[in-house]
Symmetry: C2
Subunit: 415 residues, 2 copies
């Protein structure tokens, strides 16, 4: 039997607002770059708060921070919940932070109720999720999951030449535990949606079934610079008109593959970019995503055909390279089911969805059963100081996190 | 009777190559910014050469340089031929220069033959045609034609804060003659085409009937920034796709109005221009040209309708402003006819055409009967160090200039 425990939405909100002083920006956002002085302050706050509620706190060799509350059966690996406390340079108060403080609130609720889970419960702050100061993003969860080596993390440097390991040691969070020497029973991550769907549909809970596969491409279309006045249309090789037809066509490719397909061009560089010169070269980037890698294969083929057909028809040259491929992730159906039932139990309007953005959960899913929970954010805006979420939605997310964890924990009962 | 005088193509070519040392760049082009030390050197060369052939040289208060050979009737205003000796920062050896040195070659031919024209003949180097150092372009011919005031020219400053008047005085070419106090009987300008038509058609002489009207616009399309992964297609307001549809549509507008219509987008700026952000704003520039202002009116209306329809259909906002309008110019039919017959006399393949670029002749046409002669340039390339033209074509252009001037001069005979 799973008990009816209620998280304290006000306590959660107060923690979100209280810790937002660490790295607060004048515009109401946060600049809390990983392993900075402000990151140390929020970590210290987290350690103190978790300790106050009876947790044991530890951190590993790449700075992942674990607050553990014991369970009945010490032989069970812990059920982990978390996300990250670092932010973008002009980030908001919720991206990542809600996942850590929501998990902390779940732990506080259990502690306050004196409820004993079967497995230990861990609240995790994964280091350097954003990748703004040290590249790549999701670095420390990646080391934890065996994607990157410890040395890769340690040796990466920020723009001032400071190595990750030195920065970590500098704020006192270089641990001795080998990253990944730490099996988990499951991993749950609560996060703001960072997209507009839940808000647009009037729903409170996103029940995540996976993460979109995504592929990134660099494209260059080359024609010939020419004087806009002296060159008749029939003698032009206008790289920009060619690129524009491809850009508009990429939108139609996405629409061909249903509502889960997205295709975007985010950047364009025109050369020589002069008012009275027909552009001789245009470089742009393409981003294709879908929850099913087989569909992305078809989108990719369509995109390549569109590019080739458009350029051949206009006497343009082109180059195209796929330089990043992140395969689609399917979350563990048992965990997804726990989230779905938890949301249903509280009558929250919900939707099964896939994440369009990368999260620590992508890497965690390689080593442990994983899922995520989304709550709406205002206008879908994130990575921005104006990022915002409603207290009632944050509370709903933490409540679903609690009930889902308890439901999964119940499945671990022995005998 | 018009005599059969032959210009010396080799002498013309030697002068083109010889003066190309003033401001020569390592890549074989020229950097001869107006009123620079190199501009002084080529002016000094021009003065010496014209004087050697019996011309009187003078210059006006904005630095326009006139070499005059007397005619039979001193009461007739001179027939002027010319262009400019200044270049773009990475310019070529022909743009403008061919028009001055071709005119000089015509004068040398007359002097060598001892042929006396009815009207005086003037070879003119208009100052600051390019506008690269001092803005705007065609500044000194504009003052000559009463488009700009003398003070506008004198007070304009280069990037180092040096005023035009001071630079002019510095190289010793600040004259006392009031610009424009100098009536002309006619003005002929020989120039490389700066476009690909003559070369593509295998023709030698462009018989210019006018200059295209041109209008320039600034456009901004505004949608909403959004995460490329988290934002479904149906919830996007993608400013770039909207802009791309307009850019591709502008090409079709040009095609609607026949082979003389050109329409171009030369610059695009995407915001935030990030690989994984759906662009929220795109700014671009539009350039519409046609020899008939009434047709440009229709192209403009079509462009505005296309922009509005595209944006309205996609929920995008837009701004659009026409910030420059250069009305179409029609050259004097008598002069055009002189050029046409001169080309025919020598059996040069020729074509009537309009100039797509601005030239000193645009302003001169406001105050005196004017026309232009084009010769082919390699690939239509200009404003580039690789700008190139064939000796035989340069000679053909100068020969047509000579015969056209003589034909027009014959019409000035009294009694």
């Amino acid at each position: 039997m799973i008990p009816n425990l209620k998280i304290d939405g006000e306590r959660l909100w107060d923690s979100l607002m209280d810790t937002a002083r660490f790295g607060a920006t004048p515009k109401g956002g946060l600049k809390r770059l990983t392993l900075s002085a402000d990151d140390k302050l929020v970590r210290d706050w987290f350690v103190a708060e978790a300790t106050k509620y009876g947790c044991t706190v530890g951190f590993d060799e790449v700075g992942n921070l674990f607050a553990r509350r014991p369970g009945k059966d010490p032989s069970l690996p812990p059920i982990a919940m978390g996300s990250h406390l670092d932010t973008q340079p002009t980030g908001g108060k919720f991206d990542g932070i809600l996942g850590v403080l929501g998990a902390l609130e779940v732990m506080r609720t259990l502690a306050t109720a004196g409820y004993e889970t079967n497995a230990p419960i861990e609240v995790v702050d994964w280091a350097n999720e954003e990748g703004s100061r040290f590249s790549p993003a999701m670095l420390a969860s990646g080391v934890f999951a065996g994607i990157f080596s410890r040395e890769t993390a340690w040796e990466t440097k920020d723009r001032d030449g400071i190595a990750y390991r030195d920065a970590l040691e500098g704020i006192g969070y270089l641990g001795e535990e080998r990253a990944g020497d730490h099996p988990l029973s499951a991993y749950f991550e609560l996060h703001i949606e960072q997209g507009p769907i839940l808000e647009a549909e009037g729903e409170t809970i996103g029940v995540l079934t996976g993460v979109q596969g995504m592929r990134w491409y660099d494209v260059t279309v080359t024609g010939q610079d020419a004087h806009t006045g002296a060159t008749p249309m029939r003698l032009r090789k206008d790289a920009l008109v060619g690129a524009s037809l491809v850009i508009a066509g990429i939108e139609r490719i996405a629409e061909t593959y249903g509502s889960d397909a997205v295709a975007s061009v985010g950047t364009v560089e025109v050369h020589p970019n002069s008012r009275n010169v027909v552009p001789g070269e245009v470089a742009f980037t393409v981003d294709l995503r879908h929850p099913d890698d087989a569909v992305i294969d078809r989108m990719e083929a369509d995109f390549r055909a569109l590019l080739a057909d458009t350029c051949v028809a206009r006497g343009l040259d082109w180059t195209e390279s796929r330089f990043w491929n992140s395969p689609a992730v399917r979350f563990d159906p048992r965990l997804v089911d726990c989230v779905d039932r938890a949301a249903a139990k509280h009558g929250f309007l919900r939707r099964r969805m896939v994440s369009g953005a990368g999260h620590d959960a992508v890497y965690l899913s390689r080593v442990t059963p994983t899922t995520m929970i989304f709550v709406p954010c205002a206008g879908g805006v994130s990575h921005n100081e104006s990022e915002d979420a409603q207290p009632v939605d944050c509370a709903a997310g933490a409540q679903v996190l609690l009930d889902a964890v308890l439901a999964f924990d119940a499945t671990l009962a022995r005998g």
